[in-house]
Amino acid sequence: MEMNRRQMLALAVAAATVPVLSACAGDTRQQRQAAAPTKSGVPTLDPNRPGNDTWPFAEAEQLNNSLTWPKTDVADPASKVTLTVAITADVIAEVRNAQFDFFFHKRHPNIEIKRETSPFDAYLTKYMTQAAGGSMPDVIYTHYSWAQNFIANDIFQPLDEYIAKTPEFDKQDLPVNALGYYERDGKLFGLPTDMAPKLLFYNKDIFDKAGEKYPDESWTVEKMMAVAKKLTSGSGAEKIYGFTPMLLPEPDITPRALMQYGGRYLNADESASLISQPEAQKVMGMWLDLLNKDKAVPSLAELNQVLAKVEPFKVGHAAMTINGAWILTELAKQKAFTWGAAPTPKGPKGRFTPVIGSALAMYAKSPQKDAAWIYLNEYLSSTGQQFRRISAPARQSAWKPNAEALGIPQDVVETVKTAMKEYGTGDGVLKLPANKKVVETAKPIWERVMIGKTDLASGLKEITDKITPLLAENKIA
C-alpha cells in the first residue's frame, strides 16, 4: 500500500500550498474597497470622552456647544430612566452616535441611553425575533421598506400627539415625498433620519478620456444608454462598464426607470402587477439590450461575482451609475478618480427619481414614551443631523452645513435639492408588507431573462403570475 515518497511529498505540498496561493489571488479592486469606511461594528470608546481620530471628542464638544438644541413641551422624566435605542451604523457613525448620546445625557441627566448597534444585514432578523418575545427597544431604527409591516402590526407608536406638543417641530423641513413610507391612516409613525434621491453619478476621467461631454439635465434615458455603450471598453479585470448596475426588479424600479416611459411595477396601492404591460416591458427590453447586445452593464455572472463585493463605479470601473446621494461621503473621500453628479435622465413622460431612506420610530409599548420623544426630537432635528454630520440628512436645512463639513461640492448639493423639490418621489417605491417577497420572487425569474433562458415577455408575465398572489398580503387591515 505504500507510495513513492517523493510523489507523496509533492502531493501533500501541493495541497498545502492551495490556501497560500488562494490568498495571493485576491484582486486589488477588493483591497481598495476594503479601505472604505463601511464596516459595521462597535468600537471601544472612553465613556467619559467618546471620540477617535475621525471624530475627536474636543471637536464634538465644541460643535455641540455651538448648536442650539430643540425644545419640546414634553417634560423630562422626574426620576432616572434607561432608554434603549436600536440603530444600525458603521464604525464611523457609531462614534458620532456615542458622542450624541453623551451630550444628550448631559442635557437630560435623568435619561440614560442604552444604545444597541447592529449591522444592517442582521438588524431586521434580530428585532423581528425580539418582537416575537414581546419586547422591543424604546426607539427603533427602521428601513423605509420595513416600516409599513411594523405599523400594520402595531409595533410603532403614532407620533402626531408628541409633534403637537413640540411647537418648534418643523415638519416643513422634512421632505414631503418621503413621509409616506411612515404614514398610515393620516398618522405619522416614524421620523426620517436620512432621506435622499438617486442621482446620475459619472466618472469624469472616463468621460474626459473618451472626449465625451458630461451628463446634464438635458440627458434622456436613450442618450445615457448610447453614451454608456460608447464608454464601455476592455475585458476581464480591465473592463470598464458604461453603466452599472443592471436594472433589476427592485423596490424602487418604478421611479428609477419605469415612470419615465409611463410604466410601473405595481399599481399605486401595490395590489396588482403592471410590469408585463407594454410601457414597462419597453423599458425592461431597452435594459436587456444594453446588457446582452451592448455588453455595457455587468452581466449576471459579473453581478453575482463582482458587484456584490465591489461596486465597479466606486473603484473607477464604470462610467456612470444611478445611486443614492448617501454615497456622496464615500465619493468625496476617495482620490482614485474625479466624479460628478447630474439629474437622473428624463424619458418621454418626464423625469423621476426615487427618494428613499430610513427613520426612527417609537415602540408602541414603550414604558418611557416621553423620554423616547425627547430623544427622537433632538436626534432627528436639523441640529441633531448637523451634529451627526450625516451625508443625506432628512432635514433639508442640514444639507448645506453637512455638505460643507464633508467636502461635498456645492453644485452637487444643489442637484440634490432640485431632485428633492422637483422630481424626487416615493410614489411607486414598494413599501407595503409583501415587498420583500415580491422582490425575491421576481429576482430569479428576471435573472433567467437576463441570461436568455426565458424571453422577455414570458419572463415578465411569469413575474406577474407569481407575485400577484403575494400582493394579497398588502391588503392589510
Partner: protein
C-alpha cells in the same frame, strides 16, 4: 465460606454498578438537560408552529394543513429538493473519494506525517465565513486561482458562481474543503485494519490494487458507510456557505432546501411555512437514511469477533 464470598462479591458488583450508573447519569445530564430545554422543546414547538400562520409580530393563528398544502403546490420547494439532491449526491460522492484518497496518503509511513495530517485538517478549523470568502476568491472568474491555473493550460474557465450551470459544481467542489473530520475517521479506520490481512494477501501474490480493493475497501466499508450517511444528512441540511456565496442564485440554481427554509423564516418571516418545510426536510433525511441502510446490506462488510 465460598457462598458468603460469592454473595459479598455480588453485592460489591451491585454497588459498583450502581455507582457507575450514578456517574453515568451525572455525566450525561448536562447534555440531556440542554437537549430537552434548548433542542427538544423547540423541535416539539416547531410541529405546532407548522400548523399556524406566524409572522413574529403577532400571535400565531391556526392554519390547519395550509402550510403543508402550500408546500405541495410550491414549485420552488420541489426545485429546492432537486438542488438539494444534486448538491448532496455531488458533495458526498466527491467527498468520499477525495477524503478516502487523502486518508490513504496520510496513512503512509513517512517523515513529517504529523505535519501533513495537521495541514490537511487545518481547513476544518477555519470559520465558515472565512472559508466562503477564500473560495469566492478561488472561484473568481477573472482573478481566481482555478481559472488562472486553467488559463495556464489554455482553458478559459467558466464564471463559476455567476453561472446557472457551474454554480452548483463550484459549491460541490468547495464542500470537500473542510473534510478534515472525515479524514480523521478514515485514518482511524485504516489503522484498525489488521496487518495480517495485508501480509496474507502479499503472500498470495496480490497486487497493490488487489490488496486495496479486496482488503482495504471491504474492511473500511462500515467507515465509508458511516461517512456517507452522515455526509448526506449534512448535505441535505447545508445552507450557511451557500447563503454567503450565492444566496441561492443565480436564478435559484443553488437554492437548496436548507436555504429555502432560511429564506422563508428569516427573510420572509413566514415561520409557519418554514416549520412545515423543516419537517419535510426531516422526512427526507429519514427516508434517504433508511434507503442507505437498506442498500448497505449489499456492500457493507462487518467483521464480527
Amino acid at each position: 465460606m465460598s457462598g458468603v464470598a460469592a454473595v459479598l462479591s455480588r453485592r460489591g458488583q451491585h454497588t459498583l454498578a450502581r455507582r457507575e450508573a450514578r456517574r453515568f447519569h451525572l455525566f450525561v445530564s448536562p447534555w440531556v438537560i440542554g437537549f430537552v430545554l434548548f433542542t427538544g422543546g423547540p423541535i416539539l414547538a416547531s410541529i405546532a408552529i407548522s400548523f399556524t400562520h406566524w409572522n413574529l409580530l403577532r400571535s400565531p393563528t391556526w392554519a390547519g394543513l395550509a402550510n403543508y398544502q402550500k408546500m405541495v403546490n410550491d414549485p420552488e420547494f420541489w426545485d429546492s429538493i432537486g438542488n438539494t439532491f444534486y448538491f448532496g449526491l455531488g458533495a458526498v460522492s466527491l467527498g468520499v473519494v477525495f477524503t478516502f484518497a487523502l486518508a490513504l496518503l496520510l496513512n503512509q509511513p513517512l517523515r513529517f506525517q504529523g505535519l501533513f495530517r495537521t495541514v490537511m485538517y487545518l481547513p476544518s478549523v477555519v470559520s465558515g465565513v472565512a472559508t466562503a470568502l477564500l473560495w469566492l476568491n478561488i472561484l473568481h472568474p477573472d482573478f481566481g486561482l482555478i481559472n488562472k491555473l486553467l488559463a495556464l493550460v489554455g482553458v478559459s474557465g467558466p464564471p463559476w458562481l455567476g453561472s446557472t450551470e457551474w454554480a452548483m459544481p463550484a459549491l460541490i467542489l468547495m464542500s470537500v474543503w473542510g473534510a478534515g473530520n472525515t479524514i480523521v475517521i478514515y485514518l482511524a479506520g485504516l489503522q484498525g485494519i489488521p496487518k495480517t490481512l495485508y501480509e496474507a494477501a502479499e503472500i498470495d501474490g496480490a497486487s497493490w490494487w488487489r490488496r486495496f480493493w479486496s482488503v482495504t475497501v471491504p474492511m473500511m466499508s462500515p467507515v465509508i458507510f458511516f461517512n456517507v450517511v452522515t455526509g448526506f444528512i449534512a448535505s441535505i441540511q447545508a445552507y450557511t456557505l451557500i447563503l454567503i456565496m450565492t444566496e441561492g442564485g443565480p436564478a435559484n440554481s443553488t437554492m437548496v432546501l436548507g436555504l429555502y427554509i432560511y429564506r422563508q423564516a428569516f427573510v420572509f418571516f413566514d415561520m409557519g411555512y418554514a416549520a412545515a418545510l423543516s419537517w419535510a426536510m426531516f422526512l427526507i433525511v429519514i427516508v434517504v437514511t433508511l434507503i442507505q441502510f437498506g442498500l448497505a446490506r449489499r456492500w457493507v462488510h462487518y467483521e464480527f469477533h
